[in-house]
């Protein structure tokens, strides 16, 4: 299992051909109190960079882009009733969706944790 990160502050946890996607601790801090999350339905297909989910805080609405191409196998339904999980556990129970990877090679373009930490420190 390995975890990747994007410059849009998403994390991608890969296990076999399945990637779990969420937003980072840094992102949830920037968003503030999350009040609504719209996750994609099973079977939806996304290219890398497509708008895949919506997260709304008290302050603003933000898009969550699919960091890799693939087909949704599961959206985190718990977030409909407990959007606050994105604040309390963004890199765990607050995950957004799981997708089946189309192209494992896309992962190479993402950052590892050390590189992401450095990226955030430079913001």
């Amino acid at each position: 299992m390995s975890r990747y990160f994007t410059e849009e502050h998403e994390w991608v946890e890969v296990e076999g051909k399945i990637a779990t996607v969420g937003i980072t601790e840094y992102a949830q801090q920037q968003l503030g109190d999350v009040v609504f999350v719209d996750v994609p339905a099973e079977g939806k297909q996304f290219d890398k960079g497509d708008e895949a989910a919506v997260v709304e805080s008290v302050k603003a609405a933000s898009d969550v882009y699919s960091p890799v191409s693939g087909t949704i196998v599961e959206g985190n339904e718990v977030l409909a009733d407990e959007p606050g999980l994105v604040n309390s556990d963004p890199e765990g129970d607050g995950w957004f969706f799981k997708l089946q990877l189309t192209d494992q090679g896309e992962l190479d373009a993402l950052m590892d944790e050390a590189a992401y930490k450095k990226f955030v420190a430079g913001l």
């Binding site: 503030g32 009040v35 609504f36 719209d38 709304e56 008290v58 302050k59 609405a61 959007p83």
Partner: protein, 377 residues
Amino acid sequence: MTDNIADMMERVADRLLPLDAWHRARGARMVPFAGYQMPVQYEGVMAEHLWTRENAGLFDVSHMGQVLLTGDAPDLALEAIVPGEIQKLGVNRMRYSVLLEENGGILDDLMVTRRERDLYLVVNGACKYDDLAHMRETFPDEVVITLLDERALFALQGPKAGEALASLIPDVASLYFMQAGSFTLDGMSLWISRSGYTGEDGFEISVDCDHAAALADRLCALDVVKPIGLGARDSLRLEAGLPLYGHDLDESVSPVEGDLSFAISKRRRAEGGFAGAERILEELEEGTDRKRVGLSVEGRQPVREGAELFVGDRMVGKVTSGGFAPTLGAPIAMALIKSAFAPLGTVLEAEVRGKRIPVTVAPMPFVPHRYHRPKTA
């Protein structure tokens, strides 16, 4: 941020509040607003909002324009551009009003207080220089207009604001909602009104910039007082049904359309004689094509400013401000809509990201006001 704020930002470089360092030291996230770097939040909008509804919150609103009108008959001069009764406004009494364009559109909304020797106005930060220019242009030379830019302005708001401020300044307990007076604390001279923008009891406190940090420290040393950011100020005023200039009101909106007819005083209705009177008096008789209303929103997804409102295929209005109401745990909004659809209970659909969300015209305030008014027998 909206276009109109973005425009401001281009014209005026960000200024720093007198308390800029004070806010940063308390963990505030600063954002550009109305030409200033403003504290948008400290610990988080939701927590700050709920704190204010239960305790007392201290807001730094020093970006707002504090303006004095002195000289010869400033009340008469002001009445030419506002529809409120100013001549008969009692000393240390205040009134909400709107600055009107010749065609009756709203240039700004403001508070007007009559003091012993002057009229004291508080106008929106983003509009203050335009307001000053407009007043200079329309007032006779005998009226002197002074921007008090050496004064900071705080709002202390919440159900515990009364006891909090009275613990430092016992005499403020005598003020009722929309009354004001001069007070002192530790040698600081303060102008304090019982008023605000949250729907709660509370005060607005004008203080010399040199004393602003000392005053903020005295207030925040009280257990029930915390500093609160602009984010919660917006969600609190939205729940209170109070319009925000530049969003719910602008120069295309008349006070009747803006549901502010209460601000058009009886004598002024009879006599007219203010900018836009012809249109506004006719609208009071005949009604308007559109109106500002409140909306309750189905589900949890916020419906925000700019969202279009539909009945079937017909677009009938637009959301002017909207968000999540922490006190209610649900989204709410304000909108300008065709008057035919303004009656309470009318169901419309808001378009958000290609999705239709049902909304219902709802009474405002969304959260009841709790102003400190005299008990009526």
